[in-house]
């Protein structure tokens, strides 16, 4: 059945229409809930269209010239529809829809005008993300990439009166910009070498071995830098934990399922190009695995429930990138999809807990299972998925990633990822035990969240289970056969992590403090985020402030110095010349006589 390209365009257009509508029609926006309903309606339509496109397996490409020139347009805009983009369409619209519904309840005590602003931003964000996903070429992808970054800034800093939120938003923007600089440089270099931005043309050139450009590795590395920033790879991961200053639904949407996955999506989309530079791919795998391990260690000592989830996201993004680097891009993408589901679930559940208890600190919670059983159940489902326990979806995607890395003979990354799996299970169950079981610390009356919040939670939990079962029935992804010992290994690692957490936090058999002091150096570093934030702050202060001090010095001593010297010179010259005006007429006659003599000289008397 041939489908009109208008359908993917509809998916893209609905959120944009909603954004325009809300941005322009002030009174509607200021009603708060009204704006929310408009936005939700738009995205529901988008979601329906996306599901339709995906289930029909639609493949198409349609572009319009943007910057015309002789010999074909320099840049185009349009849509590129294939299974990869279709899956992302569904993920993005689904999670956005659920988050927007959830937000109606979560932000119910927000001022209406403020809520309207929130939904305007949400619509803009969905539009940007979809434009990125559907981009047929690097240029459009970059434009929407930046737009997504802007929305991230707007949404992280949604409560802009809070200084911490404003700082976090600026930090996110800055750090991702560092990566984006590399990205745009790489894009332009690639264009100057090949003459095109479009993916299909580039992939054809790669096929025909016509892309043997000198410095291709550097170019692809620069492009990869964009993903480093956006997908929070080391060392540009420092913005993601701080981004938790934004509302929890925002964290669920942007920093779990959609924006941060843009980097992974980009690498996956341009995989034919990266395949030409295996060195860069290996680097990607190592950095990804290292990021995963590093973030996992930091999650183990974190007490803020959202921060734990943030580090967990960084860690899982590392998994995805490692898979891409190992040449197992489909595995990484599968993990992206499953992770999007259960991480959003975890975030939204954490939001319900925070909403009920009023604090983010897990050590001020406890025993919440009795008060909020439904939330507890879905949270545990998400945890099991994240830890990689079958038959939930996370198990299959994680196993695929590990298998892919092993098949590529990347032992170092494999070991790092395996250790990370252990730690993942550990820190997630740590949170579960401390938050939902044990002694109750929380004051007030924690209660179940309203249905508007619980509905999305149950839906996501169900999807996690359903997707997992489907994957189990289909029997593995792609053609790579993982080694037989892999599934038992990953299950074993998950169980080991669970056992460790149970022993330390539920049973009290092992004292966490003793473990911490035993691993004192590691514990110390992890708590201080390995000094990276301090390093960035120091660099920023050092470079920018040092530069500004230098400029200030130059301004004071050179620029002002020249001016001061000129004025002093003028004053002194004036002072000395003043004596010519003696007031005595005879001196003036002298002057006239001198003038006459000069005239004689000028008239060349001696000739």
């Amino acid at each position: 059945m041939t489908l009109n390209v208008g359908l993917p365009l509809l998916v893209l257009a609905m959120p944009f229409v909603s954004f325009l509508f809300l941005a322009i029609v002030g009174p509607l926006r200021r009603t708060g809930r009204g704006a929310g309903l408009v936005s939700i309606a738009a995205i529901a339509i988008s979601f329906a269209a996306a599901v339709f496109v995906w289930t029909q397996g639609f493949v198409a490409e349609r572009t319009w010239p943007w910057i015309p020139s002789d010999g074909g347009p320099i840049a185009t805009v349009g849509v590129l529809v294939d299974p990869l983009s279709n899956a992302m369409l569904v993920l993005v619209t689904l999670v956005s829809l659920l988050v927007q519904v959830y937000s109606l309840a979560y932000l119910s005590d927000e001022r209406p005008a403020s809520l309207g602003r929130y939904y305007t931003y949400q619509s803009l964000f969905v539009f940007s993300m979809l434009g990125l996903v559907l981009a047929p070429g690097f240029l459009q992808m970059f434009v929407f990439w930046e737009l997504v970054g802007l929305c991230s800034y707007l949404l992280i800093g949604f409560w802009y009166e809070r200084p911490a939120a404003a700082r976090a938003a600026a930090k996110a923007f800055w750090i991702t910009k560092l990566g984006d600089v590399g990205f745009i440089v790489g894009i332009v270099l690639l264009w100057s070498a090949t003459g095109t931005f479009e993916f299909t043309e580039l992939f054809e050139k790669a096929q025909d071995n016509a892309l043997a450009v000198p410095g291709l590795a550097v170019i692809m590395f620069l492009i990869y830098l964009g993903a480093v920033g956006k997908s929070a790879q080391f060392p540009l991961h420092v913005w993601l934990p701080d981004a938790m200053e934004g509302p929890t639904p925002v964290s669920a949407l942007i920093h779990a399922a959609t924006m941060v996955t843009a980097g992974v999506y980009m690498v996956t989309r341009t995989e034919p190009l990266f395949a030409l530079v295996p060195g860069v791919l290996t680097l990607i795998a190592w950095v990804g695995a290292f990021t995963a391990l590093l973030a996992a260690t930091m999650a183990c000592v974190e007490g803020d429930i959202k921060r734990v989830l943030a580090y967990s996201t960084v860690s899982q993004l590392g998994y995805m990138m490692a898979a891409a680097g190992a040449g197992a891009a489909p595995a990484g993408f599968l993990h992206l999809l499953t992770h999007g589901l259960f991480k959003a679930l975890l975030f939204l559940a954490a939001g319900a807990v925070i909403h009920a208890v009023g604090t983010n600190d897990i050590f001020r919670m406890g025993g919440l299972f009795r008060a909020m059983p439904q939330t507890g159940i879905v949270f545990i489902v998400g945890t099991l998925a994240l830890a990689g326990v079958p038959p939930l979806a996370g198990f299959f995607s994680k196993e695929a990633v590990l298998g892919g890395v092993w098949e590529a003979h990347l032992t170092g990354p494999f070991l790092m990822l395996a250790l990370t799996a252990l730690l993942t299970a550990f820190y997630m169950f740590r949170v579960v035990f401390v938050t939902f079981f044990g002694r109750a610390h929380a004051g007030g009356h924690p209660h179940e969240a309203p249905w508007l919040m619980r509905g999305p939670l149950w839906l996501l939990a169900a999807l996690t289970l359903v997707v997992g079962i489907r994957l189990a029935l289909r029997g593995g992804e792609g053609g790579e056969e993982a080694p037989a010992w892999l599934p038992p290994l990953s299950i074993g690692l998950a169980l080991a992590g669970f056992a460790l957490a149970w022993a330390m936090y539920q049973r009290g058999a092992i004292n966490p403090a003793r473990v911490a002091s035993a691993l004192a150096p590691l514990d110390y570093m992890a708590r201080r985020r390995y000094g990276l934030d301090a390093l960035y702050a120091g660099l920023y202060r050092g470079i920018i402030l040092g530069f500004s001090r230098l400029i200030g010095w130059i301004d004071r001593y050179f620029v002002d110095g020249i001016l001061n010297a000129l004025t002093a010179l003028t004053l002194r010259a004036g002072d000395s010349l003043r004596h010519i005006q003696s007031g005595r007429a005879q001196d003036y006659v002298y002057g006239v006589a001198f003038g006459v003599l000069l005239l004689f000289v000028w008239a060349q008397l001696w000739r």
Binding site: R578, I580, Q581, S582, G583, R584, A585, Q586, V589, Y590, A593
Partner: protein
């Protein structure tokens, strides 16, 4: 054979001497005397040229300059007297109110 140039050189000499007087005299009236000499030299020049070129323009010019000089001396001395009344001195060095 006293040529035109002799008269002109003579006039130049008198002019320079008058200039010397203007530059060095301390008394204001002394300066005016120097000015008189300079104007005199100019007159000699004019008449010499009139004689050697054969027309009367120089002579008429001289008549006028003599008259104007007389008027100028009168007014100048009146100013000197007025200054003397106020400042009780006509020494040129003391008259420096226009000092910058």
């Amino acid at each position: 054979m006293i040529g035109l140039s002799s008269y002109l050189v003579l006039a130049a000499l008198v002019f320079s001497i008058g200039l010397f007087g203007v530059l060095t005299r301390r008394n204001a009236v002394g300066i005016l005397l120097g000015i008189e000499l300079m104007l005199n030299a100019v007159n000699i020049n004019l008449v010499a040229f009139a004689r050697y070129n054969g027309d009367l323009i120089g002579v008429i010019f001289t008549l006028f300059t003599i008259s104007i000089t007389v008027a100028e001396v009168a007014v100048g001395l009146a100013i000197v007297i007025a200054i003397f009344r106020v400042r009780r001195t006509v020494e040129a060095d003391r008259l420096d109110l226009l000092r910058g």
